[in-house]
């Protein structure tokens, strides 16, 4: 099934939700999903026979300065097709529903997004920092993140030898 068919299928299913199909001039095209509808859409594309996206390739996000774009890359091992979904989250503690119960791999990846970008995944079983220590302040992948001069009394910068 090609991209167009997938999108029309999803769009007809979720006619009421505001789905926005973006055809990028270069790179991957993606479907922007409002965060309320995300769980339903994901559930649908995972369980529908024709789509059957059983594999979550990547769950990541980036800081687009006005909001954070959480991006989901899906792949289907049975049909060998893919889909990119996007959810726009509010910067600083914006909430996005979790899909941990649908995809086991989402657990760690959501924790990573929370850790580095501060997106809260609602009803995630264990939304704790994963890569950074628990007492770390801030979310370093945000564009306006400022590194603190000291971490637990240790200087974070070192004088250059040059």
């Amino acid at each position: 099934m090609n991209e167009k068919d997938i999108i029309t299928l999803i769009k007809t299913q979720f006619a009421s939700a505001k789905l926005e199909w973006v055809e990028a001039p270069s790179g991957d095209n993606y479907l922007v999903v409002p965060s309320e509808a995300l769980r339903d859409v994901v559930k649908y594309i995972k369980e529908t026979e024709a789509l059957y996206f059983d594999y979550l390739v990547n769950l990541s996000a980036f800081d687009a300065t006005e909001h954070i774009e959480v991006t989901y890359h899906f792949y289907s091992y049975t049909h060998r097709h893919k889909l990119v979904l996007k959810v726009k989250a509010v910067r600083l503690n914006g909430e996005v529903p979790t899909i941990t119960d649908l995809y086991g791999t989402a657990n760690f990846q959501e924790r990573e997004v929370f850790d580095l970008l501060g997106v809260r995944f609602a009803s995630h079983p264990n939304l704790a920092r994963i890569l950074l220590p628990p007492d770390f302040k801030g979310h370093p992948l945000l564009k306006d993140y400022q590194e603190e001069a000291q971490y637990n009394g240790i200087e974070t910068t070192r004088a250059s030898l040059l």
């Binding site: 390739v57 980036f62 687009a64 990846q109 220590p133 370093p140």
Partner: protein, 382 residues
Amino acid sequence: MTESNQPEKVFKTEEMVLNMGPQHPSTHGVLRFELTTDGEVMTKAVPDIGYLHRGIEKLAETVGYVGFMPYTDRIDYVSAMTANQGYAMAVEKLAGIEVTRRAELLRCTASELNRISSHLVGVGSFGLDMGASTPFVHALRERETINDLLESLCGARLTYNYVRIGGVSHDLPTGFIDKAMVFLNHFEPIVGELNRLLSDNKIFIERLANIGVISKEDAINYGLVGPNLRGSGVKFDVRRDEPYSVYPELDFNIPVGLGKAGTLGDCFDRYYVRVEEMRESAKIVRQCLLKLKDLPEGDIMGKVPRKIKPPKGEVLVKVESSRGEMAYWIVSDGSDNPLRLHCRTGSFTSMGIIEKLSRGMMIADLVALIGSFDIVAPEVDR
């Protein structure tokens, strides 16, 4: 006899919380597990990662597209060549850069040689986890020759930084093809010997059979990739199913787990897929070398703009690294530096399933499980 009237004393035991790592010998780097054990049997093992988090993704936002290439070596230092290649492919796709055929063949040769060396480390250190120290040294001995070959190709033994955006940094040195052929001829019987020494060993099989069984569905759901996925019987390989580079022209098999020792998807299957893959990679290298021999001298770099500035957009490129599918997700805003670069690695996703599998395992089995995933700690944390 007053005591007999009293209720029988219940012998109370407590669960013990054990801290495994970060400096434990069999955690393959700096990983930590919090084990809750009842004697030797675990009730839970919670991975605690991040000890090697170096913020490579943040660095990518400042060093630019060309400058990030050496950092990809450090994401997965055991298999740096494939990490290089994946990154280069992602930027090329985003910026629309063509790669010459000679460069593709060179990349393929180097990657597959690197895959052999990475699997040798994986297989050998897995043996070491199981207590067999000799196969480990034998594997490293073979890897040494590959290191020498790649050193003569690109000048470094571990952090190659060989692939460039649009091509590769060097053409073949003189005598490379012959030396590589000699190595391959020597290597193929060595795999047989490794099998006779380790894989066929009854103790080894007993340690791995029916341990850490991952079903097909679980493997896909938890996003296992590469040999770990194929160990569960899913016949999927990025090189075959989403072909890139010169792989469509090459003849190779995709080994999958067959449940040879016990159940499909147990530790032995994951291990054995790697052993088989070494043979397949040797086959691929042979074909690539023959193709390179026939190919006339040519450019190894495509047409690359002086300053790489991909247009606005984002791309996810998958590459079959030694630890499975490695996905680079690059978001560009049209400037010199990527807006966001994310690297989804095989080791990171396989950490997620450990907690689920660990229930009811013994401590020694957890060591087997971690080893069978062939986890490289810097790849987990990046």
